[in-house]
């Protein structure tokens, strides 16, 4: 009996690790069910200790994660070799934190270097991290080598200046205008920095966390409290 129960418990735990909680919930005997749940917690803890992805157990994803980690670190190292004092934070697995001053030169180098060849800027996101810190994040991608990297630049909300990279990747022209429109980040060297989605005479930077709508816009009252709108 016990062996059967052990088998049931181990099967149920296996299934639950893949996300199917029904296997455990369907066990009728209360004692067995609670034992299965305990075993599940233990198994999850064991996996977390192992420092690996919890879903895919096959080798390709492992090596991909390792490759990605290595690649990110490699790019980080290359940047800090070529442009000393440009990296803002310690080496990271997912992104590279760069200081704003040398950004234009770094961008030009990232695009033209043969081994890296990041010839397309996929997305530029602005983000308000709270406490007066803004960040601009760039997702770069290489169509030749099929690798990608994310670069983040932190600036303060009082003086949000980042060099513009619109000469390097032409797509940054409109992306930076949108980030300027929403966050107020000033891109130095941009040839035509003006609002893109909002009207030119709108006041304020909407996507900042401390944004307050203006009272009226050309005589139209901007509603603040939305009572009864549910």
């Amino acid at each position: 009996m016990n062996e059967d129960k052990e088998k049931i418990i181990s099967e149920a735990v296996e299934k639950a690790l893949q996300g199917e909680m029904d296997a455990i919930n369907n066990i009728e005997d209360r004692v067995t069910r609670s034992k299965a749940k305990a075993a599940l917690v233990k198994a999850k803890r064991a996996k977390a200790v192992n420092d690996e992805d919890s879903i895919k157990e096959d080798d390709t994803s492992e090596s991909k994660v390792e490759e990605k980690i290595n690649f990110n670190q490699t790019v980080c190292q290359k940047i800090s070799e070529k442009f000393p004092e440009s990296i803002d934070a310690e080496q990271n697995d997912d992104w590279i934190q760069v200081k704003p001053e040398n950004w234009l030169k770094i961008a030009k180098w990232l695009k033209s270097d043969e081994k890296l060849y990041f010839d397309s800027l996929q997305c530029n996101t602005g983000i308000d991290l709270g406490e007066g810190v803004l960040e601009s994040r760039y997702n770069l991608h290489s169509m030749k080598h099929l690798h990608k990297v994310e670069i983040r630049i932190k600036i303060s909300a009082e003086k949000p200046d980042i060099p513009s990279v619109e000469q390097v990747w032409r797509v940054a022209d409109w992306f930076e205008r949108e980030t300027y429109d929403m966050f107020g980040i000033n891109f130095i060297g941009h040839r035509d920095l003006r609002r893109i989605l909002l009207p030119d005479d709108w006041e304020g930077w909407p996507l900042r966390k401390d944004y307050e709508e203006q009272e009226t816009y050309h005589g139209i009252v901007v509603p603040k409290v939305k009572e009864g709108w549910e």
Partner: protein, 373 residues
């Protein structure tokens, strides 16, 4: 805009105009009929999508994504759901994956039909538009059978789908595909090989590959310029690696590589490829599986961020999601493909005649809802 010289005239196309695919204002500087500069002004349809998303839960974001590109809602949902599932490390079962692929490919066919039809309409061909809309109605009927909505579906949820397939879905879809496949040849002949259409679109609005990549143009617009880049093959998500399909690329059949005709032709070929994919998916569709199985009770992703791209009918749709561990997103940015496609209009449109510029705008197949969000 700077100084306007003696002969030049500054004209506004839009915001109310039959040919601008939405509410878009193009300010053009013209010298006689030749256009020297185009400046798009957008934002008429801005609905503060990104700010809204910071105040609603992750599930409640999905109807908002529908309304961004209202002509391809399924793929909008798909992109968001793929990004979220990668962030939360959820794996869905096969049935859900296959259904998602079927829906996304049917949506791609519907969106391309409308895009090509509107392109023909801009050039004065009134009839193909109506024929294509008639066939698109059948696809919308299939969608209505599944989830009750014709245009804005809210169908793909994080971890599953909102409804399972109804009975009769497989037959209806196969009937539609059998009816539809010869029609694609008819459309190609009626519009594509028509001498007047070819004269209006070949060698017009040529977009070289480097310009396209630099301006971030993706999707059929990029493939029309000869670059073989399709996210379903080059950066696969979901189960697209199980299907056998080609990626059509513009070859300059009627003019130079990257002209309006090539972009049109790539879309027609993509319709054929999507039909193939749907047939294969229906063949391989698993009979059982619960579509609500992997849906978490409460969506609370771990702290972190992700940027994930999927292939929408207009190009690379990217979602950048930053989560702070609560149940509302901290920052959600949607990288819309039509936004970058519109930015290249000045580059490829300047120097052509007025009628050509409207043709080029039509060949880029933009949707203002996605650009303005």
């Amino acid at each position: 805009m700077g100084v306007v010289h003696g002969q030049e005239m500054v004209l506004n196309i839009g915001p109310q105009h039959p040919a601008t695919h939405g509410v878009l204002r193009l300010q053009v500087k013209t010298d006689g009929e030749i256009i020297s500069e185009i400046t798009p002004y957008m934002g008429y349809l801005h609905r503060c999508f990104e700010k809204h998303c910071e105040n609603v839960t992750y599930e409640q974001v999905i109807p908002f994504t529908d309304r961004c590109d209202y002509l391809a809602s399924m793929t909008m949902n798909f992109g968001y759901v793929v990004a979220m599932e990668q962030l939360m490390e959820i794996k869905v079962n096969d049935r859900v994956e296959y259904i998602r692929v079927i829906m996304a490919e049917l949506q791609r066919i519907a969106s391309h039909l409308l895009g090509i039809g509107a392109f023909g309409l801009d050039l004065g061909a009134f009839t193909p538009f109506l024929h294509m809309l008639r066939d698109r109605e059948r696809i919308l009927d299939i969608f209505e059978m599944t989830c009750g909505a014709r245009l804005l579906y809210n169908y793909m949820w994080v971890g599953g789908l909102s409804h399972d397939l109804p009975t009769g879905f497989v037959e209806a879809t196969l009937n539609f595909l059998d009816y539809f496949e010869p029609k694609v040849d008819e459309f190609e002949n009626l519009l594509g090989h028509n001498k007047i259409f070819v004269e209006r679109t070949a060698d017009i609005g040529t977009m070289p590959a480097e310009v396209a990549i630099s301006y971030g143009v993706t999707g059929p617009n990029l493939r029309g310029s000869g670059v073989k880049w399709d996210l379903r093959k080059d950066d696969p998500y979901s189960i697209y690696d199980r299907f056998d399909f080609n990626v059509p690329v513009g070859k300059g059949m009627k003019g130079t590589v990257g002209d309006c005709w090539d972009r049109f032709y790539v879309r027609i070929q993509e319709i054929r490829e999507s039909v193939k994919i749907v047939r294969q998916a229906i063949d391989q569709l698993p009979k059982d599986g619960d579509v609500h199985q992997a849906m978490p009770k409460k969506i609370r992703p771990p702290k972190g961020s992700i940027y994930r791209r999927t292939e929408s009918p207009r190009g690379d749709l990217g979602y950048y999601i930053e989560s702070d561990g609560s149940d509302t997103p901290y920052r959600l940015k949607m990288r819309s493909p039509a936004f970058t496609a519109l930015s290249v209009l000045n580059e490829i449109g300047a120097g052509w005649l007025m009628s050509d510029v409207l043709g080029i705008l039509g060949s880029l197949d933009i949707v203002l809802g996605e650009i303005d969000r």
